[in-house]
């Protein structure tokens, strides 16, 4: 009897969640679009800067290189809530950068995700480009060509691995909740993204809405993982 009640509750919940997804009402759509917008922009900015920096680091030996690598490796496990807290203190009205008036806007959420994702992309890209350079260094040296062309070759040769790293970074950004809820404030129609919305709807008891957002998030994550598998199998 109890099992039947639980099962009918779960079935109803899932059906209602799927109905929400297929209904695609404006508020649901806005949340998904904002989530993708914030994560994609943060990942693109982070990827461009990280790959540019690591292509330089991979071919150069300089004082402190090991220390910088160690720092970025450690920052991979940076707690998002701490990032959110530091940004909140920095950008709040009495903070150092309070005059920029960025708190509770999508831009500060992009900054937060950029800070969380960048150490991941830098650490993984550096490892990937270091490995590739150790394989190609003699050949590239023998060409007696410019440093810029060596870096371009290195990045181009690692393009599929780097794409996988970028997708990994984006998955991290999309699933992040701690920092964006602090700096974004989870404001409806302004800074509400999928993860913060799930937190809110769950606390309100709107489980079907929370689940529909959860399912959407999983679909996006699975799609990205399928993309990674496709790249690995077909292109590498």
């Amino acid at each position: 009897m109890y099992v039947n009640v639980v099962l009918s509750f779960l079935v109803e919940l899932v059906l209602q969640s799927l109905a929400n997804i297929f209904e695609l009402n404006n508020s649901f759509k806005d949340v998904v679009i904002l989530s993708l917008y914030v994560s994609v922009i943060a990942t693109i900015i982070s990827s461009v800067i990280s790959i540019y920096l690591t292509s330089y680091m991979a071919i150069k030996n300089f004082f402190g290189k090991d220390a910088i690598t160690l720092i970025f490796n450690s920052l991979m496990s940076l707690p998002p809530v701490v990032v959110g807290l530091i940004l909140y203190i920095t950008f709040s009205s009495s903070g150092v950068l309070g005059f920029m008036d960025l708190l509770y806007s999508p831009n500060i959420m992009i900054i937060a995700q950029f800070i969380i994702v960048t150490p991941i992309i830098i650490s993984l890209s550096l490892k990937c480009l270091n490995d590739r350079y150790s394989l190609l260094s003699d050949y590239l040296f023998s060409l007696n060509t410019s440093e810029n062309k060596i870096r371009r070759t290195l990045v181009y040769e690692s393009r599929y691995d780097l794409l996988i790293i970028v997708i990994t970074g984006m998955s991290r950004a999309l699933s992040e909740v701690g920092a964006v809820i602090i700096v974004g404030g989870n404001i409806d129609n302004l800074t509400r993204v999928m993860t913060t919305s799930i937190v809110l709807e769950t606390s309100r008891g709107e489980l079907s809405l929370a689940l529909s957002l959860g399912i959407s998030l999983i679909v996006i994550a699975v799609t990205m993982n399928l993309l990674i598998s496709y790249i690995k199998n077909k292109l590498l």
């Binding site: 394989l135 190609l136 003699d138 050949y139 040296f141 023998s142 060409l143 007696n144 060509t145 062309k149 070759t153 040769e157």
Partner: protein
Amino acid sequence: MNIFSVNNLSYKVSNKLIIKSATFHVKKNVISIIKGSNGAGKTTLLKILFGMIKPTSGSIQRQFDNKTYELSYVFQNSVFLNRSVEDNLNHVLFCKNISKSKWKNLILKTLKEFNLDYMLSLDLKSLSGGELQLLALVRAVLIYPDILFYDEPTNNLDSQNIETFVKMINKFDSNGTSIIIVSHDDDLIKKLKHDELIMKEGVISK
């Protein structure tokens, strides 16, 4: 005329002396072969002459007549980019700032010269070890270098490919390219008209 005058050159790694006080000259426009058994230090010497490794002591005078010399190096185990045969060759021309409009003709001309143009339609992964070795040589001579460094050329080559290799080397020798080869293959050495340097346990002799 000499292109390299090496004086009292030594190279040490972790207290092991790989090259011991080498003094010799490398003549311009001839084939020079550095001969010796495995582990004698030949590859290290070739890399030092190319400028890839800095010697521990001694000096190398490069007498290049104040002009920029184009150098090419073919490695014992050549590495290729994860691209097609044509794109691997394109990459060299890209790195050497050759105008893109000239790439196709230059590549075809060089490959046809040695009857290797069939490679263009093949996947890099389908080439045999010997074909890759010849492709590495083509890649190195595409830019018509003034000096060609070649490390153990006959590795992976069967008798037919060795003939192609000898033909290619003689062709570039007659064009005035100075060629420095490291080898322990006596059969190959007999086939090339050359200056010989013998290396044994880090010591070089004529």
